[in-house]
Symmetry: C2
Subunit: 425 residues, 2 copies
């Protein structure tokens, strides 16, 4: 791949990335799906052929990470294993096989004067991805952005530098094999932090940035960015056990919502329970959760039912634990449950467990989160589970994409009107 000289000022270097991306975007937005799919399949083949080389480059990152005393969990995320390789190649082939979103037309209406009005799906343009440790994001994000006809600038964490550069080489070779412009996907080859500052303010060259990483990263970028971000800050998700909850569903869904994985953004962090059923529903749920090592923290009414639960404070309602800890609050009714959610939720994902249609309908209509469930665990919050095929991220924004963002979220709709010389006025 063409190197941008790293001794340059990183802002100047990023301008070069930006200009190249803008030029490539004009070409790739018109690319046939055949070419885009061929490039993605070529990348999958190359990942399989060059697995050993990728692992060698990855080993350099792992070695540095160990020297720098990175936490084991972070080193795990950084590692490229046979499983990672397989998952990247499979992901590429799946995205290659998805229908091309570009150029599809929405419903056409005919106006009284006979002209036809429709909306056509088109790429956003240039997408910036700013991410931490996991090198597989390089492949997943590049693939989704390319399939949706966008040019991409990828800026991974410095701890994955060698891995990302190696993957970037494979991506560009895949693009070349399919006759697509080399700069349709660029992996930034500087680890200077100023490059990130440049990306989030390059409104002339970057149309949207998808940050992938911890809350610290997102908060920092949000403060600096003038380029729009597709993002969520955190996932303080709630499950509400309604008065009319089925006890088996209440138990199973609650346990699943907390324990499927502690570290993902869709994990339930606070359980709300209707006062009338708290006494019967909470003890079996608590027993299972405690047996799985989950620490319980409750309001006073909860602790009257579960005396071993620790007292919950205001801070607990606000916290995304990402850990085996659960806050529990007994509420008077669905209104108090929704008030609690309105106040503390991060508008990511909330769920009601109920057999009462009116309660389910109210909850789904009135809770103002990006995903609102009935009788399902919040851990379903994932583009693949929604049928989007793959997701670039989850958004709690109100404009543009909200919830899991798949290929469509990386596109926009322009208007196309067709007539036979109709005139106005």
């Amino acid at each position: 791949m063409t190197q941008v000289q790293t001794h340059e000022d990183p802002r100047t270097a990023m301008q070069v990335y930006g200009q190249r991306a803008r030029t490539a975007a004009r070409q790739v937005r018109k690319a046939a799906d055949k070419a885009k799919a061929a490039a993605l399949r070529a990348m999958a083949d190359l990942i399989e052929e060059r697995g050993e080389q990728l692992k060698q480059q990855n080993a350099l990152d792992l070695e540095a990470a160990r020297k720098n005393g990175l936490a084991d969990a972070l080193i795990d995320r950084l590692a490229i294993t046979d499983k990672t390789l397989l998952s990247m190649a499979t992901g590429l082939r799946q995205i290659a096989a998805m229908p091309d979103p570009v150029g599809s037309l929405g419903p056409t209406t005919t106006r009284p004067n006979g002209m036809r009005v429709a909306q056509m799906r088109v790429p956003l343009g240039v997408i910036g991805i700013i991410y931490e440790s996991r090198p597989n994001v390089t492949i997943d994000a590049a693939a989704l952005c390319l399939k949706s006809g966008n040019a991409t600038i990828l800026r991974g964490g410095s701890e994955a530098f060698h891995s990302n550069q190696a993957l970037g080489g494979i991506i560009q070779e895949g693009l070349a094999r399919a006759g697509l412009p080399q700069h349709a996907v660029q992996v930034v080859d500087t680890t200077d932090r100023a490059a990130v500052g440049a990306m989030v303010t390059m409104t002339e060259y970057i149309d949207v940035i998808v940050p992938r990483g911890g809350k610290g990263l997102i908060e920092r970028l949000s403060r600096e960015a003038t380029v729009p971000l597709i993002k969520h800050l955190d996932g303080n998700c709630h499950v509400y056990l309604d008065k009319a909850a089925d006890p088996v569903k209440a138990h199973d869904v609650t346990v699943n919502a907390k324990t499927y994985r502690y570290g993902i953004c869709g994990t339930m962090e606070t359980l709300l329970v209707h006062a009338d059923v708290a006494g019967t529903l909470l003890p079996p749920i608590a027993a299972t959760l405690v047996s799985k090592g989950v620490e319980l923290r409750g309001c006073e009414r909860t602790r009257a039912i579960l005396p071993t639960a620790l007292p919950a404070t205001e801070e607990d309602w606000e916290t995304e634990y990402l850990a085996p800890i659960l806050a529990i609050r007994v509420v008077d009714d669905i209104d108090q449950a929704m008030e609690h959610i309105e106040r503390y939720s991060s508008q990511h994902t909330e769920s009601i467990i109920t057999e009462d249609l009116a309660a389910a309908t109210r909850f789904q209509r009135e809770v103002d989160s990006s995903s609102v469930y009935v009788n399902l665990p919040t851990c379903f919050a994932d583009g693949f589970e929604y049928g989007l095929g793959a997701e670039i991220g989850i958004s709690t924004n109100r404009l543009h994409a909200r919830g899991p963002v798949g290929l469509e979220g990386l596109t926009t709709m322009k208007w196309v009107l067709t007539g036979e010389g109709q005139l106005r006025g």
Copy 2:
């Protein structure tokens, strides 16, 4: 209406508007369409009942405008006449009668595990409107935002202060008559410019701002805003007469695109003509335009055909005249036409005149503007003409709404999932 004390610091005052709007937004997003429509019809009735009072308040603004030597065109826009009153009342009743976008569900898909996935349309939240002179924007914008379940903060120009305050009083009385929260629509009662600066940075209280006004206003707001703007800077619109253009359509559409109204953003500013047909198409078009008082400026090849045309410079290709002036360029082919558009267009609206399906298809797919037409004049760029019922503005943004923005552009889609206790993993 409750007054915010104007002796306060305007930033503090705007925080109060913001807090009230956020509270009202929680209520109005759940409001039944019956109540929203009743409020809009009550406002229409009040405008009819209080026409004389409105005109009296408007007279204060007109008097000040004349004293301050405002241009006649601006005074015209400022004036509330019987026609303006009728148009506001009719607009309100039309918006009242439109289908409520809130709560409508997109297609539902059933996942392999049986859970149902759909998207539900919900309000954006709090919308800020920043606008100049025309007081009817107060009514139109308030009506669209209310119908789509949003709370609104309206900040009009100081030259329309008395008119806007009077209309604000009518809006709040209409809200009260329908039992809706008073602060669902607030008309800012300070003319301090710092109020605008506060609005565009109040990300905690305002979800999106729709600026309505000249390029100067939009540029200034774009520089300062951290709240997203739904906007377009200008409308440098193109018509391309293809080799396969029908001569009658070419003539009539071109003349209509330029002369329907000189001052609207959809007016054609540059005409591109295929070299093979320029000699036959241009003379009759030029004759009609000149007879209507349009000044022609052309490239060298144009001037070889139309010797009376003035020479066009680089600046002409870049200019939105908003005046009876037209730039004309002869191009080699459709590729050169699209290159010209790619370089100079403001991505507002472009049109091709052709009988060739392949050319029409290519133009519509490849031109990267928010609206792309075939055989239609660019002056159709208007939400009402597209069938949106009414528009809050036109967007050349890539994220969220692109092109004319109606009720749907003032909403977002959340995900609603319904199951029977399905678990993950």
